[in-house]
Symmetry: C2
Subunit: 309 residues, 2 copies
């Protein structure tokens, strides 16, 4: 029998739930408004209702829950997230596991998306199956910049479970203040919100459209964002030496226009010592990456799965 | 019987050889001038003579060779190194293994030093033995800046075997040109050579001494170097989330003066989202770190050891 999991991706706006198979295919899915202000107990209840609507729970081997961090996968606790206002030290993993009587894991949403792209993204892109996949970094360009890294087939977590926060790499020392308290973070220059903030009443999408039509001011903002992304890519190259760096999130809808601009800056910035460059590519799973990734992770977590207590 | 290895650290100036036990202790050691211009065959011959002088080769379980990169540990080949002029695609691992009829590994010298500090450095510092060691990054501040990272107890290598080149992280976009062809690398601001290059006839040691005695110009150069190191530490924090970042190499002789300055800048630059900061510390094994580390690695390499063919 095929192994199935429930992938739950809790976002600031929507919560997505899908039944995921061991190839990363979505067999059924739904979504509802997160409304974090109502509290975690109520959200967990609505996850349960939706899960029962989607599938016979007895056929679900494991539950994967993705959420914005900082959080602890080990403890299954969301510490406190700017996107889930009012949540402090919420043991969401056990809350859901107990309600559904299935074992669960909790994972940072950007790590989950990276894992989804790593396992299922190549297949979605039509690449030959079974090819050895190399280490990979995903940068999700949305309101903020999330990121995850896969090293040796596993999520890079770090000692404090907070590795791969590439959005808060300093790329412009002394530069613009970031919401995190640092100055000159990648996120303060190359997230959709950062780009939109440079104009009145324009979204990042509008800014890219204007840049593409030759608007000089929009063009400069896009150039600056892409140059910062390219600096980040050089630094990721020297840090992890991955095979690929992928761009996902809403802003990656700018597609080849974005990619060509980042690549041009990367080529201008990179070293000439050794030909160890990562490929720069677009992500392939869109908004489902996190839900798929955390579902796949749950199926592969074995002893790390926890029954709610 | 105790397992012994031969640790060979090939530097641009000297080659060091030591008999290393499985705790990282040096039982015997020697060194000689590398003189890379004479070619690798002659150097391999001199390694053999010195090895026989140091120990009964029959008692040596494995040989570890550290060298400046870029190189391939997998293939045992040094591609081409600015510090070993004229060497191109030298299969040094097999050359030494064959001559001594012992299995060997080749490792990047900075990775080897990081491994040495990770395994034997805490012991050297008098820390309680047996404590779980967390992920660690070593920055060796010498003529250049070498670095190595230990993640989950293993060297972080990357897809192209060239991860942890933190010296070439861009910390000053558009800044000073580095020998690697990039601009604004950490190495161009915070290596001993970069610091000395700002003055006529002063070594980095002189510059630190002058800064310590209150010289304003020297003080500014030291501040700038420490600020760049602190930016690097913030970026390493967000990349790997390690437990510790260590400073080694010749310049770390500046000791607490250097450390206090880097820490001060780090505290000013870091975020306020989550308390996931690495400890910033001095390395402990000095110039022997690479030789000890590569000896220890050889003893733990098992199936990765290669007999010369």
């Amino acid at each position: 029998m095929m192994s199935l999991s429930l992938g739950v991706d809790i976002g600031g706006t929507d919560t997505k739930i899908g039944v995921i198979d061991d190839q990363g295919a979505i067999l059924a899915q739904t979504r509802f408004a997160t409304r974090p202000d109502r509290g975690a107990e109520s959200l967990a209840d609505e996850i349960v209702v939706n899960a029962h609507n989607l599938s016979e729970i007895d056929g679900i081997a494991a539950i994967g829950i993705g959420a914005p961090g900082p959080l602890s996968s080990k403890d299954g606790v969301i510490f406190k997230s700017p996107n889930l206002a009012g949540w402090v030290n919420v043991p969401i993993r056990d809350m859901v596991a107990r309600r559904l009587d299935r074992p669960a894991i909790l994972e940072n949403d950007a790590n989950a998306a990276a894992y989804g792209e790593y396992v299922a993204g190549q297949r979605a892109g039509g690449d030959v199956d079974g090819v050895q996949r190399g280490d990979m970094v995903l940068l999700t360009l949305g309101t903020g910049i999330g990121s995850g890294a896969i090293v040796g087939g596993e999520i890079l977590r770090g000692c404090h479970e907070n590795a791969s926060e590439w959005g808060h790499m300093i790329v412009v020392p002394g530069g613009r203040t970031c919401g995190c308290g640092q100055r000159g973070c990648l996120e303060a220059y190359a997230s959709a919100a950062a780009i939109a903030s440079r104009f009145e009443k324009m979204s990042a999408k509008d800014v890219f459209a204007a840049a593409r039509s030759g608007d000089g001011v929009a063009g400069e903002v896009v150039e600056e964002a892409c140059r910062c992304l390219a600096i980040a890519c050089v630094n990721i190259q020297h840090a992890l030496n991955p095979d690929r760096i992928l761009f996902g999130g809403g802003m990656s809808a700018a597609g080849d226009f974005l990619l060509a601009c980042v690549r041009r800056h990367f080529d201008a910035l990179r070293w000439n010592v050794h030909d160890d460059f990562p490929a720069l590519e677009l992500a392939r799973l869109g908004n489902d990456a996190g839900m798929i990734g955390v579902g796949l992770l749950a199926l592969q977590s074995g002893d790390d799965l926890v029954w709610g207590s």
